[in-house]
């Protein structure tokens, strides 16, 4: 029977007490279970599978495209590549956002509802550490499994189709934009988890943004500059080599990153005041 003095005491910053233990637990929930490969398989098959069909199957769309469309794209191969990239970025962006919202909706609200937060906060764990551990563990997992791995496979498919390495810089920039877009929805969902006590409003607001954002931006154009709603299209345009004005790229990208920081800040402030 060892006394407490026989143990090494946890050595953390005062405001982040309990962070490393919770971070480890959150990481384990991704990497220590089946969850990581199920998500890898799901998103890679969904996004890259559709892309592969576009790239390698006898292509009806290319046959049906008009000469001017093919000419505008820069040839038949470029037209097919453009369609495949559209599937990955324009269709994939919102799909990944929906997947992120579904995966993240329970991160806080689930533990709130089943009483686990109450127990966790009875341990030497600060509320700040709780929120930051959620972000720090889930963001890399989601971004690697949802964006990183499918993007790597997608890059391979594109290079295989063109017979040479696909332009890497523009592709990486587009993936970075998709990453910011996905991160926005992770932080939004986490923040909503601190603001509400059931899943309805979380799903309603977050999915409303994913599915209705494009429509809203269509009606009120300036909204595209201060939201992530146009980012999937911007990513596609960049990776297909289209000329994109800098303000269309950077304003929504910076706004999206700022929103993400604001969401984390609001979650920290709100969680600090909550009672369990």
């Amino acid at each position: 029977m060892s006394a407490n003095s026989d143990f090494q005491q946890v050595n953390e910053l005062k405001g982040l007490r309990g962070f490393s233990n919770l971070f480890h637990k959150e990481n384990k929930a991704w990497w220590g279970t089946h969850r990581w490969w199920i998500n890898t398989l799901l998103w890679t098959v969904l996004l890259c599978g559709l892309m592969a069909i576009m790239l390698f199957a006898p292509n009806e769309e290319a046959n049906q495209a008009s000469a001017s469309e093919i000419l505008q794209a820069g040839g038949a191969t470029a037209y097919i590549l453009s369609l495949a990239l559209s599937v990955f970025f324009e269709f994939g962006g919102p799909m990944l956002a929906i997947g992120t919202v579904i995966q993240a909706q329970d991160l806080i609200i689930g533990e709130k509802q089943n009483g686990l937060i109450e127990w966790l906060l009875s341990k030497p764990l600060t509320r700040r550490a709780y929120i930051l551990a959620k972000v720090a563990a889930n963001a890399p997992a989601l971004l690697v499994l949802f964006v990183g791995l499918p993007a790597t496979v997608a890059y391979g498919l594109l290079s295989l189709r063109t017979g040479a390495p696909y332009p890497l810089l523009s592709f990486m920039f587009a993936v970075a934009i998709l990453t910011a877009h996905t991160f926005f929805y992770l932080t939004l969902t986490l923040m909503l988890g601190t603001l509400f006590n059931n899943r309805g409003p979380i799903l309603g607001i977050a999915l409303g943004s994913v599915l209705g954002g494009g429509l809203m931006g269509g009606f009120i154009k300036p909204l595209f500059s201060v939201t992530p709603w146009i980012l999937p299209k911007v990513a596609w345009m960049i990776t297909t080599g289209q000329a994109v004005p800098a303000e269309i790229v950077f304003a929504p990208l910076v706004a999206t990153l700022l929103w993400s920081l604001v969401f984390i800040f609001v979650a920290l402030v709100k969680f600090e005041k909550m009672e369990f």
């Binding site: 407490n4 143990f7 279970t33």
Partner: protein, 321 residues
Amino acid sequence: MLQSTPFVIETHHLCKSYGDVQSLRDVNLTVPRHSIFGFLGPNGAGKTTLMKTLLNLIRPTAGTGTIFGYDIVTESVRIRERVGYLPQQPRFIDQMTARENLHFAARFFFSGPEAKLRARCDEMLELVGLEDKANRPIKGFSGGEKQRLGIALAQVNYPDLLILDEPASALDPLGRQAVLDVMARLRKYTTIFYSTHILDDVQRASDTVAILNRGQLMACGPIEQIMKGGEGVVYSMAIKGNLPVLDTRLKEIPWVTHTSVTQQNGTSVWQVSVSDEGAAEKDLLRTVLADPGVTVAEFSRKKYELEEVFMNIVKGAGNVC
């Protein structure tokens, strides 16, 4: 700051309200070190609210409190480093086994060495008799097993204070006994502050008691003191014979404060409240028997059951605080 009083928990005029509803009203509570402190009250009395307030899960609207001398609001993390808590409905991380849950809980306090951490987890499993279920998924555990695992999780850091919210209420008699046994084993290491509405358990396990009703502390102190009730020392006598003369004679005694009589099967049952316990012990029976027209069938000092005291207090008949 180190504790300089004999009390582990101290609250001063602690209040908590939700709108117009006052869950805690001006609670002044002291919990002595190394006591098994039973915290009693009917459902909705505010027991859980007080426990959560002590752990900063709920913020007080007025008043202050300290545990080990640390403020419950501003120094909560320092307090929680030395406290173990069992919620009313224990929660676990379902994906983990009992051993993994213990290891996870221990990691909030200790970063190593790993071998000692494993040994501590094994020791906790043994303490609550769950060694054979250490590696099983928690979803297969019975209510009693979950409760015992909850206590093990609360005890994993050898806390100086265990706060247990209704640790045995949802259990069958065997499960309850097992939990009370664990509490008795832990007594020499720690102070146990637990809430319950099972009076029998309190009478068996506690040395100090507080009674909370509608957010107000109605009684607190050593259990013997509480068990005396709010009426002081009372003697009970079953008497046959000349009652008016006896009544007059008793009322002439200066330390007799109150008498009452009820009739049971032709016998008069007298309740005599006294202010001088020593004098009553020596002279009360002698005084009664001095009258040759009186026969005493029974004579005893009235013993209260905790339930009687509790009901008196909760129904507003007494306040022993």
